[in-house]
Structure formats: structure tokens, C-alpha cells
């Protein structure tokens, strides 16, 4: 059954552009109970890596946990690519609520709204109120910083955060860090963390045991995926140098509205699908804007990410689920 589900996900990834082009050229993650393998494609040669040994067997009750990442809800968007983004967000929440295990919390990796309008944030809050997980952590996307430099975002979702909304917390032995790379963007640049945040990050990680699993989450990818479309963060290298010494690092991002993954040593990078609309694969369209797909396929290219942490393993098992799956 795990393979069948993965096949379904693979199929969706392959059919994404409806042009017969197989997406095996991109990195795929195949984390699932039983198989527990992470595949990477490097110059066309597949390399597998066993991951989270013992996943599936809940050894210590309470030590293992799961959380869900959602991203890019863009409440307020109403163009042909998806005329009702509130409905698809609701579908995502219903999917979370239907999971056999209630996630400990939800992380929203930004672009909550389309235009930073109060009504858009209000609508988002209404939908999220019905989620089974009551604790939700947010980082802003560039669409949440409009008109007021993110003031409203901070007021609504920035409790306990610093600067433009960064923060960290610990949960059952895992250290989570929410970063903001959409503030004070410079002309011609990509995402940016900024000096103040980088200093805070270095200090935040100081003295922590290298065996502490680390999860970094931010809106724009913290690795360079496609500079022409701004899909990267100019100063992320410095941030990543601070986590280099840790045994397990997972980076969760959004912004690109499609799944992309990369493994570099002990750092696993993963971007999530949007709950609103898909975007084209790098360089396959004139721009990164909303991509229209046949209506009946929309639910397959939007999704949520379920992340499971098993205390006996050294990594997090990441499973992406399309809304229509």
C-alpha cells in the first residue's frame, strides 16, 4: 500500500505540466513507513539512503509526534487558476482533520493572504479555527507584507516573535526555528534574512547539543532553486553554516507552490505544495505566476505535508499528500 500511494504521488508529479515530461529530473522524496527510503537524483544516478529506522513502530508513547505544514493559502486570490482558494484551504483542513492521528501543531510557511487585507486574514482565521490542531505557527510570505511592511501580520500572528516575525520553540526534543526572509527585499535580489536575524539565529543555536534535531522553516526556499524567478535566499548560506554541526536538520519552505527536495549532508530541504494554486516548474513558463490546470486536476496539484518524527530515527519522515488523494 505504501508503494501504491507513492506511485500516485509520483504520477501527479509527472503529469503536472501535462506535457509528457517526466519530473524524475528533479529530486523526489520517498519517505514512507516500511520503505523509509529517500531517493535523490544526482546527474541521473539514483542514490538511496535509509532513513528513520524503525519508523512505524511507535516505541515510546508520547516521544514520537507529527505536525503538518501547509503553505501559500493566498486568501483573496480569485483568478482562473483557482477562483475559490478559501474552499481549497478548507479541503486541506478537512484532510488534516481526517488523519488518524491529530498533528501536534500546524506550521503555515507564509503567503497566508493575497494582498495583506484584513478581510483576507479574517477569512483565513475562520477556516483555521476548524482545524483539529489548535496550535498554529506562522511565518509571513511576501504577500503578507504589503502596504504596512507586515505590521498587521505581526499583530495577528507574531506573538512572541522578534523583528519581522522570527522565533524558535522546542517540542518533544526537536528544536524549531521560524525565519522571515521576505522583509526589506532589495532590488534585483531574492529572499533575504538580514544581519539582525542572522545574529539572533547564531545566538539561538549556540550551546545546543549536536544531537538535537533541528527544523528550520521560512517562506522563500533557503536553498537556490531558480535565481531568475527569485527562488532562493541571498544570505541563507550563513544561516546554514550555523546548523552544519547538527546531526539532523530539516528545512521546510513554501513560495514555489510545488514540491522540491534536496539532501546535502545531514540537511534535508523540502518545499510544500500550495493550498491555492500550482506554479510552473523552473524555466518551463515565461514567469512563475499561477499555473492553470484542468479543473478536475486542481485537487491533485494542491496539498499538505505531514511530517512525522520518530525518536529512534535521526530524521523526519515527510509525506506530501495532494488534496484529492
Amino acid at each position: 500500500m505504501p508503494d501504491k500511494k507513492q506511485d500516485l504521488i509520483d504520477q501527479k508529479l509527472q503529469d503536472l505540466n501535462n506535457d509528457g515530461v517526466d519530473r524524475r529530473g528533479f529530486l523526489k522524496c520517498m519517505a514512507w513507513a516500511g520503505t523509509g527510503l529517500v531517493w535523490t537524483m544526482s546527474g541521473g544516478i539514483p542514490v538511496s539512503r535509509a532513513f528513520a529506522k524503525g519508523y512505524g513502530k511507535k516505541a515510546d508513547k508520547g516521544a514520537d509526534f507529527s505536525f503538518v505544514q501547509i503553505s501559500d493559502s493566498h486568501i483573496g486570490f480569485n483568478k482562473p487558476a483557482n477562483p475559490d482558494v478559501t474552499a481549497t484551504l478548507q479541503t486541506a483542513i478537512n484532510k488534516i482533520n481526517a488523519m488518524p492521528h491529530t498533528p501536534d501543531f500546524i506550521i503555515h510557511t507564509g503567503d497566508l493572504s493575497q494582498l495583506s487585507k484584513p478581510s483576507e486574514f479574517d477569512t483565513l482565521d475562520q477556516v483555521l479555527k476548524g482545524a483539529s490542531a489548535k496550535q498554529i505557527y506562522f511565518v509571513p510570505g511576501e504577500h503578507d507584507m504589503l502596504s504596512d511592511n507586515g505590521e498587521q501580520f505581526l499583530q495577528r500572528y507574531g506573538k512572541g516573535t522578534k523583528g519581522s516575525g522570527w522565533s524558535s520553540f522546542d517540542h518533544k526534543g526537536v528544536h524549531f526555528v521560524g525565519l522571515v526572509n521576505v522583509a526589506n527585499l532589495k532590488a534585483g535580489g531574492m529572499g533575504s534574512l538580514g544581519h539582525e536575524q542572522l545574529e539572533w539565529l547564531e545566538d539561538d543555536l549556540k550551546g545546543r547539543s549536536a544531537s538535537t534535531p533541528i527544523v528550520l522553516y521560512a517562506h522563500i526556499p533557503l536553498w537556490t532553486i531558480y535565481p531568475d524567478w527569485g527562488w532562493g535566499t541571498d544570505d541563507s548560506e550563513q544561516a546554514l553554516s550555523y546548523v552544519k554541526r547538527f546531526g539532523s536538520v530539516t528545512v521546510l519552505n513554501g513560495h514555489i507552490h510545488q514540491i522540491m527536495q534536496k539532501i546535502e549532508g545531514k540537511v534535508s530541504f523540502h518545499t510544500a505544495m500550495s493550498t491555492a494554486f500550482p506554479q510552473p516548474a523552473p524555466g518551463t513558463a515565461p514567469s512563475a505566476g499561477p499555473m492553470k490546470v484542468p479543473a478536475e486536476q486542481l485537487q491533485q496539484v494542491l496539498g499538505i505535508t505531514d511530517v512525522n518524527y520518530v525518536v529512534s530515527g535521526s530524521s523526519l519522515a515527510i509525506v506530501d499528500s495532494p488534496l484529492g488523494g
Binding site: 483568478k79 482562473p80 487558476a81 493575497q114 494582498l115 495583506s116 511576501e142 504577500h143 507584507m145 504589503l146 502596504s147 527585499l185 532589495k186 532590488a187 534585483g188 535580489g189 531574492m190 535565481p227 531568475d228 524567478w229 527569485g230 515565461p286 514567469s287 512563475a288 505566476g289 499561477p290
Partner: protein
């Protein structure tokens, strides 16, 4: 003008009558056309110029205009954009699809700008 007069002399009585009415009208129209301002689309002497935003691009990326021109940015993309000067000279609000922003350039110079939401989008207005 000479050829018109010659042509008129060769016509019949009826034609002469019609032609004699038409000639002054034709001359009047000619004078009007010669005296009117140019209506060519890409005329750089116009007081207005436009930048079209589409597919994450400012078009044209470099716009050259004379001092006193009002430049209007129109967002034809399905995603919001902004037009913000890198030197603090002008700053649009967020432009959703079909929204516009105008700025009148009263001083000569080069004005680089970008979209604060998608900073890879850059443009330049050169005012001469």
C-alpha cells in the same frame, strides 16, 4: 495644388459645380492636417508614457521620456506588483490586476525602480 486646378478645368459643367464646392473643403482639410499635432503612438514628445506590467516584467524595462512626462504603470499580470523607486523618489501602493500608478517626472535623471514583492523585477525610467 496646381494639379488639382488643372483637373478641375477638364471636368464637365456638373463636375465643375461639385468640384468648386469640394476644392475649398479639400484645402481646408489639408490645412487642418498639416497644422495638427502628431498622433503617432510611440511619440516621445507626448506628455504621457506607459509601462505595462505582465509576466513579472516591466515593459519596456528602460523607458526614456522628456522632463515633465507622467508615466503610468498598469498591472496586466494576474499577480499583484508594486513600482518602487530604489532611491525613495516614488512608491506605488500594491497594484492588483488592472490597477494603475502614475508619477510625473519633473527632474532629469535616471530612476531605477523595482517590485518590492518580487525584487527580481527591475526597471528604469530615464528622464531627459
Amino acid at each position: 495644388m496646381k494639379s488639382i486646378t488643372k483637373g478641375i478645368n477638364k471636368m464637365t459643367k456638373q463636375s465643375i459645380w461639385v468640384a468648386s464646392l469640394a476644392t475649398p473643403a479639400m484645402i481646408a482639410v489639408l490645412l487642418l492636417l498639416l497644422g495638427s499635432p502628431s498622433v503617432r503612438a510611440n511619440d516621445h514628445s507626448a506628455a504621457n508614457a506607459t509601462v505595462k506590467i505582465d509576466n513579472f516584467v516591466f515593459g519596456p524595462q528602460t523607458l526614456t521620456v522628456p522632463v515633465g512626462t507622467t508615466v503610468t504603470w498598469t498591472n496586466s499580470d494576474d499577480i499583484p506588483h508594486t513600482s518602487v523607486s530604489t532611491d525613495g523618489v516614488f512608491k506605488s501602493k500594491v497594484l492588483d490586476t488592472d490597477e494603475k500608478f502614475s508619477y510625473t517626472f519633473t527632474k532629469a535623471g535616471t530612476y531605477p525602480y523595482y517590485c518590492t514583492i518580487h525584487p527580481k523585477m527591475t526597471g528604469k525610467v530615464v528622464v531627459q
